[in-house]
Every structure is written in structure tokens, then in C-alpha cells.
Amino acid sequence: MSRDPSEPVIETRDLSKVFGRFTAVDRVSFSIRRGEIFGFLGPNGAGKSTTIRMLCGLLSSSSGTAQVNGHDINREPELIREAIGYMSQKFSLYRDLTVAENIAFFGGIYGLQGARLRDRTATVMTLAGLTGQENHLTGTLSGALQQRLALGCAILHEPPILFLDEPTSGVDPVSRREFWDLIRGLSARGITILVTTHFMDEAEFCDRLGFINAGRLIALDTPARIKTTTGSATLEAAFIKLAT
């Protein structure tokens, strides 16, 4: 794929999702460049997960358009699925399978096999810091290790785009910090990352932020510029100013 690096990898225009009479996502427009870490920030129920789920093809959109890796989310969801990795806050692994079996399974459903699967397995095991624990049952691992394994499973097929939905909830601060090191490493290799969080300290690690509140995008800029334009010392203060 030889594309202009400045060309947006993810782009939405007036993307909306309505559940009955409740508008979960209200005309959200943004674009994300290749290799960028884009943070979606906002309180629970603001519409962060709903937006990600529409971009992943898990949820249909009500109106507006969105493209992921050049493919329309409603017309070519299957092509998008090849190009994305997805990890949610639930670390959706099989707790009754071993580490190696989980990796083999997720590799399998992405069609990986043979040398490539072995190669990717080794890479992911190193990245997740799980080498030597291949035969441990996943359910017996600590929360932080499960989180790393979930991330590893999401990038087995080397997707150019990674969606992380609240990936650090339920993990201790030190592990959260280490996890963000992993994410920055992936970004440095050109992977585009869309991450949602409600931790303001994590937002500082993002290249650009979208503040979302009650389904609306209320700010879209770099962390530094958001703070300057609102005249706030912290992102938290900026958010409160913008949201009220």
C-alpha cells in the first residue's frame, strides 16, 4: 500500500447513531492520519464506544459517513475487518484456553498459518512479555498480563489500524504506564491507533484528542493546544470548561 502519508486513514463526516429516541453519537466528524495516536476522551456513556463499534463494523450507523483504510463502513465492512485490530476493556480472551491456544485461535480466524503464524506468535509473546508462559491457562494470568495478551491477539495479523476501547480499565497504574509504552512503540512503527479512555493522564500520551460529551464532539486538537485555547492548566480542567 503506497499511500500519501498525510492522507487520512480514518475519516468520519456527521457520523451519528440513534437508539430509539436516544442519540448516542451526534454528527461526529474527524479524521486521523497514518501513525497517529488519536484519543477519544469523555465520561462513560458519552458515545466513545459506540463510535468505535461503528468504525469496526460491529454496529451499523444511523446517518453520516465514515471510511476506514479507504473503505466505507457500511459498504465494505469485510475489507475493513482485514485491516483492523480491536481490543476492548473486557480482554475478550478464552480464559479456559492456554496462552498459546488463544494466540493460535485468533491467528486462525485471521487466516494465519504455518511459518507466518509461528513468526507472529513469537513476536507477540515477546511483546506481551509472556515468553515461557505459553502453557498457562489464560484465566490464571494477572489482569495486566491478560491485557497484554489481548493486545497481542489484536495485532497478530499486523493490522495497519488498531482500535482500543478502554484498554486500561481495571489495570494498576504501573501496568498502565507500561501498556502505553507498548502503544507508542506500535505507533512508531506506523500503526494508526484510535484509543478511548476516561483517564486524563493517559490523554497526555495521545498525539491528538477528541473530547466527546453527550454524543457530541466538543473539541478536537492536540493536548497542548486544547489546554492553551481553554486557558487551563490540566486537560481535566479544560474538559470541564468545554463541557459546561
Binding site: 451499523s60 482485514e82 473486557k90 480472551l93 479456559d96 491456544e101 485468533f106 486462525g108 480466524i109
Partner: protein, 374 residues
């Protein structure tokens, strides 16, 4: 195909790691078969009888002898008043009271009509009907003997015996209800375990959110469903063999027909039953709910509407129409044919067609509902 094998392999690994569920799938049907096989019986034997003999003659005693010589009647009490008999019936100690009137022997000898009274407890209509039938046969026998004696006495040698019924009982010569019930039970139990197991296995993934992780992958719904179903097809075939073996060892039910045809019928049945399990999993969210819906949707119709116990031709027309949608209806009839009657493909093709159509229906509905985008 690679993706299908990934699902298949994972499914087997999870099943292997959960021997309890596997054991339940295989052994619960076996246990239920032995339980139901013994408890469910339509054979009416050992009917408890009280006798009121007001005649006390050799003839009245000979009547009683012929009554209690067979295993159908047991003498529980010999009573002396009708009130006593009513009491025994009221308390359920006996199912029937036979009253032989004073003058029974005399009237018989004179060629007069004798009223032989039988009080029958008909709270169980089935047993009552059978009891009356046995008594009917008994009085016929007595009448024949009396007429024969009278004619001989009059110097006529009755050359003609009239109509003599000669029943030849096919397929189940001992008239044992186990032979009729066991194939039906197999259908019921297999239906139950197939539908419950598949619906649970899919809803479990929804509950643990692993389904979402599968849905964001490029896997196709049919690869997913096939990969999840195939292991259960194999398990259900093991269950089927187990239940057939038990049917043979415990109830003497042998398979008279072709094993190949039995296998084909079972596969078609599983195609339909597992499709129904998947369909249930698409409309339920929790394992608990899926379990309840699966039990209700598989077991109740299998008992009531499949012809397993209640003959379909005796149902009201509207209900008969509904039975066409019941998977075990076709399966029970087909395997009864194969197991008891050595039925051939020609005999049971309508049932096989029914299973195929229902299978296609359920699987198309299920695959259609397993859309990847909500």
C-alpha cells in the same frame, strides 16, 4: 477453511477442558433413558382386584381361578359386602371389584342371563379401559363354554366355531411398550441435548464477550456456525450410540433395520436440531435464558407433539398442523420404523424430507440472524 478449522480446534479444546459438561451431554441422556424406560410403561398388568362372591359354588370359584391364573389380575381382598368394596375403591387399594351374584351357577345352568358386576376405578382411563377389555374377554370365554356344553347336552355336536380371531402381532410380538417408547425416548433425549448444548455454547461466547472479538475478524458467519456445530454433531452421535446400546441391554430393543439409514436419519435430525439451537442462541443473551428457552422449545413439543406418547392422528386438526414444525415428530417416526420394522429408505423418505426442510429452515434463519453488524 482455515478459519473454520480454527473454530473447530478451539471448540474441541474447550470441550476437552470441561469434562463435566461433556459427561453431562453423554451420560444424562443415558441416565434418563434408563429412568424413563422403566418408569414409563403402558403395559397394564397386576390389576388389583377385590372379589365379592355371593354364590360360593364350584362355578363361581372356577370363574375366579381363570381370572387370577394370568398376570393381569392380582387378588387383593375377598370381601363379603358391597360397602366393603366401595371402601377399597375409594382408598385406591383396588382398581376394580368383581361381584358374583347369588344364583350365578344356577342361572348359568338354566341358560338365563347373569349380571356379573365389575366396579372399575376409572380415574386412570387407560388402565380402566384395558381392565374392562380383559373382563370382556373373560365373559366371552365363559359364554362359549356354557353354549358348547348346552349344545352338547342337547345332542348337537357343534362343528362350527364361528369367527375365531387369529391376531399375528408384528414388529413387537411381546407387545412391550418399551419397544415403542425407547426409539421415541432417543428422539426426545437427543433433541434435548443437541439444542441445549449448541445454544449454550454460542450464548456463552456472547456472555463472555468473546463473540465480539470473533465478529471483528474477517470470519464468515457460516464458517463460525459450522465450526461450532461440528463438534456437537460428533458428541450427539456418541450419545446416540450410547443410548442405543442401553436400549439393547436394558430393554432388549434391537435394531432391525440398516445402520446406514439410521446414521443418515440421525445426521439429518442433528442438522435440524442444531440449527434450532443456533437460532435460539441468536435470540437470547444469557446462558440461563438460553437454557430455559432451549429446554422449553425442545423438550415440551418432543413429549407432547411428536407422537412419542400421544398418537398424532388422535389430535385435533389444528394441533396436527403444528406437529409438522416439530423436529422429533419426523425423527421419532423414522427411527421407530428403522429400529422396529426394518423400514427402508422408500418407507421413511417423507420423514427424511421433513427433517431436511426443517433443517434448512432453521439453519437459514440462524445464519441470517447471525449478522456480524448489529
Amino acid at each position: 477453511m482455515k478459519r473454520f478449522f480454527a473454530i473447530l480446534k478451539k471448540e474441541f479444546r474447550q470441550i476437552r477442558r470441561d469434562p463435566l459438561s461433556l459427561g453431562l451431554l453423554v451420560f444424562v441422556p443415558a441416565m434418563l433413558l434408563s429412568l424413563y424406560g422403566y418408569a414409563l410403561s403402558f403395559d397394564v398388568k397386576h390389576i388389583r382386584i377385590a372379589v365379592l362372591d355371593d354364590d360360593q359354588t364350584p362355578e363361581s370359584r372356577s370363574l375366579q381361578d381363570s381370572l387370577f391364573q394370568n398376570p393381569y389380575f392380582d387378588r387383593i381382598a375377598t370381601i363379603t359386602s358391597p360397602r366393603e368394596g366401595a371402601g377399597l375403591l375409594d382408598h385406591g387399594r383396588v382398581r376394580a371389584v368383581l361381584a358374583i351374584p347369588r344364583g350365578y351357577a344356577r342361572s348359568l345352568a338354566r341358560g338365563e342371563a347373569v349380571n356379573l358386576q365389575v366396579l372399575v376405578d376409572a380415574s386412570d382411563a387407560n388402565t380402566a379401559t384395558t381392565t374392562i377389555g380383559y373382563f370382556d374377554a373373560l365373559s366371552d370365554r365363559i359364554n362359549r363354554r356354557v353354549r358348547f356344553a348346552a349344545l352338547t347336552h342337547a345332542g348337537v355336536t357343534p362343528a362350527l366355531q364361528g369367527v375365531v380371531l387369529e391376531p399375528r402381532i408384528w414388529f413387537n410380538p411381546e407387545l412391550s411398550s418399551a419397544k415403542f417408547l425407547v426409539p421415541g425416548l432417543i428422539g426426545l433425549l437427543l433433541m434435548l441435548s443437541a439444542v441445549v448444548a449448541t445454544s449454550l455454547s454460542i450464548v456463552r461466547e456472547k456472555e463472555r464477550e468473546t463473540m465480539e472479538q470473533i465478529m471483528v475478524s474477517p470470519i464468515r458467519p457460516r464458517e463460525l456456525i459450522l465450526g461450532k456445530l461440528l463438534p456437537y454433531v460428533l458428541i450427539c452421535l456418541v450419545t446416540m450410540s450410547m443410548v442405543l446400546l442401553l436400549g439393547y441391554f436394558l430393554f432388549g430393543v434391537t435394531i432391525r433395520g440398516s445402520f446406514l439409514l439410521l446414521g443418515l436419519t440421525t445426521l439429518l435430525f442433528l442438522f435440524a436440531a442444531l440449527g434450532m439451537g443456533v437460532l435460539i442462541s441468536t435470540v437470547t443473551r444469557t446462558q440461563q435464558m438460553a437454557f430455559q428457552v432451549a429446554v422449553l422449545a425442545s423438550m415440551l413439543p418432543a413429549i407432547i407433539l411428536s407422537g412419542f406418547i400421544f398418537p398424532i392422528q388422535n389430535m385435533p386438526v389444528a394441533i396436527q398442523g403444528i406437529t409438522y414444525l416439530i423436529i422429533p415428530r419426523y425423527f421419532v417416526e423414522a427411527i421407530r420404523g428403522i429400529i422396529l420394522k426394518n423400514a427402508s429408505f422408500i418407507d421413511i423418505w417423507p420423514q427424511l424430507l421433513g427433517l431436511l426442510i426443517l433443517g434448512l429452515l432453521f439453519n437459514l434463519l440462524a445464519t441470517g440472524r447471525t449478522r456480524k453488524t448489529a
